[in-house]
Amino acid sequence: MQTLTKETMDRRSFLGGAVSGLTLAFFLPEFNRMGELDAATGGTAVNSWLQIGADESITLTIGSSEMGQGSFSGLAQVLAEDLMVDYARVTTVQGGPTLVSPAPVGTSINTVGSGVIRGNFWKMRDAAAAAREMLVQAAMTSAGDTARTNFTVANGIITHTPDGKTWTYGSVALAASALPLPTVVPLVPDAQFRLIGKTMPRFDIPHKVDGSAIYGLDIRVPNMVYAVIKHCPSFGGTLAKTPVAPAGYQVVPTKVMAGTNRGLEAVGNVNAVAVVGPNTWDTWQKAKQLSVSWTLPANAAQLNDAQFLADAKALAANATPYAVGAANGPGTLYTVEGNAATANAAIAGASKVVDATYTLPYVSHACMEVLNCTVDYVPGVKCEVWAPTQSAKSVMSLAVALTSLPSDKILVHTTYLGGGLGRKAEVDFVSQAIQVAMVVGKPVKLMWPREEDFSRDQYRPMALVHAKAGLTASGQVLGWSYRNISPSILGQRGAVLGPTGDSQGSEGSQALPYNFGTRLTEYVTHPSQIPVGFWRSVGASINTFAVESMVDELAVAAGQDGYTFRRGLLTDPRWIAVLDAAAKMGWNTPLAAGHYRGIAIGTAFNSIVAEVVEISSVTATGLKVNSVSIAMDCYLAVNPGQIDAQLTGGMVHGLNAALYGRQSFVNGAAQSKNFNKSRMIRPSEMPQVSVTLIPNPGASDRKKVIGGVGELGVPTFAPALANAYYAATKTRVRALPFFPNATMSD
């Protein structure tokens, strides 16, 4: 049983508009950015509320963010199941740290790691069941009958079976609020599920078809002014001299704060100016025209793709091993698993050796909604922030640091996010908006033009992977050696890496259930300090490309097809079931002339996913993706229709990156600054997609690990495509993207 809190009148009155009735507060742990359960659960921290109103309202206030993944509705679906009410009766409300009084800065409200449903499933069920039992207890008191077995609940109505008397939840909500929290809360048995495992419509969609959904960029505050950001074009550059503001406008330099520093962007660096004016367009024009003098970093000339690749190649050949007590600076070699001597010996003794190097570029997030934030700051009184953020917690911490206001004078409103993709877990744009608001004395909406959004991203890290494996003459794998050289995401966030390196950098490359004989998995911190960050599926999107391309190369060396070879090499029945499900959809069906297939399997966030990609029309400048078959085992499927949407959308994200995604640098300055140089597919290019979810074995086992969904479509697309491309051309694409020079016009 989790920590539930029955709300006191004080807390309830703080909730302001809350109706009278039963309020249960609880903590939805979600997942922090390290991919682990947040430790700061305490016993008193709360970030979510369930309210049963005397007016029959049922309101779920959630701290996490809605960025398209549908998890608000998913949580409501889980709640309604164990509360035993109609799904449509639940109203979800976006909460934030400000709903807690006093706001505990340590309270986790992050939306990352495909974690909202998998991290909160049991918490939500327990809270719903506890509320339901308290309502039943109140009805029992009213009936003067202490036998629980004489009461049934259906559709939000409590019935006393001996006499047929009924109570609505609202009619007993106030009485229930005076009762103690129950110690035993029976959950709805799997066989009686009405909602869990069913495709249900999302609550947010009606607002997203009539223009009424409010995203960060749509916030309007009375007397608001508009700020447009202009950064130094090169990372690591700083403002040389504050420019003179155009008449009628203000120019506010902004600096890097602790918590927003990444790589070359050091704390205190004044790396941008904001131009402040009466509306977006006029202000943006002034920002474009403003001549700003920047001091570039001393090593600017080395901040380019060729140098990054040269550094990676050098580290592929020779890197200094991690040592306890040593500095372990950039270029350190970490052993993730296995032993170099044994793996190398096994490979050396093999009759066939495959040796391959894969490279991946930096990739931008390119959320449809550019970064933006609105702040209303009144000195000594309040700092009110509206942000499309994946991390209201970080927004709160930053606002405290910048304003020195107590946390109860800071209000954070999480808006809808026009895409998050990991980028909006960062708060650099929030920091700038608060800094500008503190100078101008009016509410400010700060926007990053699209060109700034691309140029000042925290990119998916570039990577070079050197893989080597040895096989017997009959195709049995004897040894596997894998070294990923990539800038460290966690290192840029101040983490001190232990002997196994950066967990984000190695995810997707370790503990793979392949019978590789003996294996070695290594991770090397690449020295590039271009800011990197969490990009949908993070390390899995890098490693799954390299691992599954390499496995395909081994299949070719063994003279087997990609499915058969993997089938023989896999040791985990769940992986085998996923591979078989993908093959059943897309591998074994007849193939049209000129069409080719590739297959890949991988894991992320405790789910297992496989994709089969079918292509045709391969030329030097393009190819056609005809169909993609996706199979996944996430253990528990709450809303299959939404899982289908997320897997399909994730696959498209992987497709865009595999075919076209690349951010290049010259003198530390990004070269792809808008969609014209960051091609993506358009509707007419959408492949046919089929999705199979491995059947849900039942939701009643708390010991089973529920897997994530939102990022799972991404990682296996690129290798499946590369494998299909090899089938078509007998040419192995080892460097992403496939078509780096693709462009797009209107």
């Binding site: 398209g68 993944q69 419509p201 999302r202 947010d204 969609i205 009606p206 607002h207 997203k208 078809v209 009539d210 223009g211 009424s212 959904a213 409010i214 995203y215 960029l217 749509d218 309007r220 508009y226 509306n279 977006t280 367009w281 006029d282 390119a366 959320c367 449809m368 909604e369 550019v370 809808y416 996010l417 026009g418 895409g419 998050g420 993709l421 033009p449 699209r450 229709g641 939404q642 949407a645 997320q646 399909t648 959308g649 696959m651 498209v652 994200h653 497709l655 808008n674 969609f675 014209n676 993506m680 358009r682 509707p683 007419s684 290019e685 959408m686 046919q688 797009m744 016009s745 209107d746």
Partner: protein
Amino acid sequence: MTLTLNVNGQARTVTVSDGSMPLLWVLRDLLGLTGTKYGCGIEICGACTVLVDGQPEKSCDLDVSSAVGRKIVTIEGLSPNASHPAQKAWIANQVPQCGYCQSGMLMAVAGAMQAGHHGTSISNEVQNLCVCGTYGRIKNACSKL
């Protein structure tokens, strides 16, 4: 300068520093019609699509002065109560994810329908970007219109 626009069937007067402000920013900042979105500013993504005299136009690069005297329809004016067939189809097919591009998608679809397209020929007319990758459901939704 002060201009009068016909937006969603109403005469709306705006004051701009000059007539080159794109219609997008007039709608969003001056008229508070934030359903029309900024995506790229270079007429590639289509998030800013509105109808101008019945034709889908990317409002991010359309001078407001050139919209004077023409009938402008935004997502807010597409229908009362989200009753346009495309909006209904979008709900029925659960199309949006993050939803940011969908105003532009729907206006492009509405324009194609107004031009006489039906079913799959509607989605062939719509070439807006969706980073969430909702294209499959967009095509399904259009196929029944």
